[in-house]
Symmetry: C2
Subunit: 390 residues, 2 copies
């Protein structure tokens, strides 16, 4: 049967990480309580007006088609927010779509099958899956835990040598929590202009930053620059499936055609719900960041107390993930995740989901409630400590 | 700039039909009232429990991720409905996604760039746009007004001669309203099995049928058959963006991976809203069909009274579109639409949006309210009558 699928259809294969998830669900069905540190699903309530205003829009029967560019009034509000970063932006630079889909739409728009795209790994799995979906050659340049997974000018030089059509960056980063330096981003931007290379800059976690100020690529003037973001994480509404892209208006017009082909449009009511809160989200975001920082600080303290783990992770500067080196256990990532789940009932994500070079890492997601996350981390430390005697 | 896009990105170009729409909007901004016969957006209220149950789900904060297969409980209810047609179906044969996106997902899954896909035209524009999106060769076999745009065994023989990887059919049909005969569908199905050709059967309008019983491809046992449908039209909720696919479980598993790459998942609350009404939708659908039939009957009566139009259309057996031959005006479809809009303030869709052979046709959408639709149709008849003297 599978030989009968297209080449790229045949390449769609399940990932090992889903087998870990399936096993976690099976354990729960059998009556066990599992601590979920594998999901990037925030557990906070959305901003207080968001759901009521979505409900109001539904009550007004806003259940028809919307523009392929997204709701005009929401685009305006996204503009008002981002014009503070770059005063040259206009509404023609903004389109609303699902952020996950935008990754595929942008790869399709910019890259042919023979083109090369560079990511710096560990990296968000959708970049890898989406490049595979379109048969685009993806080059993974690994960053190093020793350098706190920071992007350097040297890494960018390496990327340019591949003569890529596009370079994808993700600051603030999932899964490492790294926030990239302004001068490194500027170096990349200059080379993108000079060498005519697309930059896809994913800033989904821009507003969740703790120890370092986030620097946005929106500061740059560059027709080759495409910046995406999402409301999923910052408003704790991943199920709304609403994100946006900011780019040159030629790119935006093409992406509107891409939207009209693929999905026609997004619902109106989800966009109206978001529109209502976007102008007054500062306090909500501050509170969320404080909550997350409390969890992260205590998790870091737990790791610092463990001799085996002390230097095997970096404290996240943003977002809510930790990328943990587990090579001292002698297990690979899949074995580690399975044993941790079976013996300690904690689920986390194998590192190889984030790139080819990371099968001695796992990702922990710290966005659950305080007790569950710290309990889960303590179990992980206990699990790893059992390897000390070996 | 555009040379810098990918080949398929460069091919994304705006359609003439959107220029008609833009002009309609401009006329409205200038204070004119425009009758919209160009949109396939139903104007009925959704089933009475649908919006309240969506609101209930939102109130319960169901704003997290869902399975890439769709909500299990909605898949069960879709199964219960369709198992009456085919008792061999199981939940593993069902996946929920946006119906529009499913067209692209299925083309991507089944067809390589060199493969041929056949459609019978006039045809739903997304099949054309989506094949173009993936650089797949689309062959359009035109059906004939003289034969009421019915699909025949002869048309299927023609299609098979192209040695296609896939044949797309759409019964009940947009834009012609044709419902295909059981024996023709069976003939196609037998040849699909014999020659190992995928069938994509789009049954979006299956439940909106008047003069002829709809026959579903779900009656067939065929691993090469993929049947899609949508809740947009039947529940008057196009803005919900929820549809589904029924197919062999190998296909379903691949499409779940495709969903997880492209969109992760759909919202939970839209699916829970639909789930609430699916078991008791008969009276709603009967009422909607009666309403539509009242409009269509009177529109047909108006056309029958016009000597110029009498034989230039077919009375729809289903859905709510009419595909009208306007060649007697001497105008092409774009000219016709523009003049009709500028002089009579009625918007309709140029026929060339539905295939290469139809630039002497326009599509009328009759799903608006009775007064607007019949008024619009009278204006069209008046407009066409002005060409009698020439």
């Amino acid at each position: 049967m599978s030989k009968f699928f297209s080449d790229s259809g045949s390449k769609l294969v399940g990932q090992e990480m889903f087998k870990v998830l399936d096993r976690a669900k099976e354990l729960e069905r059998l009556g066990n309580e599992v601590i979920h540190l594998e999901l990037g699903q925030p557990r906070f309530d959305p901003p207080v007006d968001l759901i009521p205003s979505t409900i109001r829009s539904l009550s007004n029967k806003n259940v028809g088609y919307c523009s392929s560019y997204g709701l005009y009034s929401l685009r305006e509000k996204i503009l008002n927010k981002n014009i503070k970063i770059n005063s040259n932006l206009t509404i023609d630079n903004i389109l609303i779509s699902t952020a996950n889909l935008l990754i595929s739409q942008i790869l399709h728009l910019c890259c042919n099958q023979n083109d090369k795209v560079v990511v710096f790994s560990p990296t968000f799995p959708t970049y890898i899956a989406s490049a595979c979906f379109f048969n685009i050659e993806l080059i993974q340049i690994p960053l190093s835990l020793n350098n706190k997974f920071q992007l350097t000018k040297n890494d960018i030089d390496k990327a340019i040598k591949f003569n890529p059509k596009m370079i994808i960056i993700n600051s603030a980063n999932n899964p490492t929590g790294a926030v990239y330096d302004e001068d490194v981003l500027r170096y990349l931007n200059d080379l993108s202009i000079k060498n005519n290379i697309w930059i896809l800059s994913d800033e989904t976690y821009a507003q969740i930053a703790y120890h370092k100020n986030f620097y946005s690529t929106l500061n740059f003037e560059n027709k080759n620059l495409i910046t995406i973001s999402s409301f999923s994480k910052v408003y704790s509404i991943p199920g709304f499936r609403v994100g946006y892209v900011i780019a040159n208006n030629d790119v935006i017009d093409k992406l509107a055609l891409s939207c009209s082909t693929l999905i026609s449009c997004l619902p109106i009511f989800t966009q109206e719900g978001i529109e209502r809160v976007i102008e007054n989200d500062e306090i909500y975001i501050q509170k969320m960041n404080k909550n997350l920082l409390d969890i992260i600080t205590d998790v870091v303290n737990l790791f610092e107390e463990s001799i085996l783990l002390k230097s095997q992770y970096t404290s996240p500067q943003s977002a809510y993930y930790m990328f943990l080196n587990i090579s001292q256990t002698g297990l690979n990532d899949i074995e580690f995740c399975n044993e941790l789940l079976n013996k300690f009932y904690v689920a986390c994500t194998p590192g190889s989901s984030f790139g080819d070079h990371f099968n001695s890492y796992v990702r922990l997601s710290l966005c659950g409630n305080y007790e569950a996350v710290t309990d889960g981390v303590k179990r992980i430390i206990n699990f790893i400590e059992t390897f000390k005697k070996i």
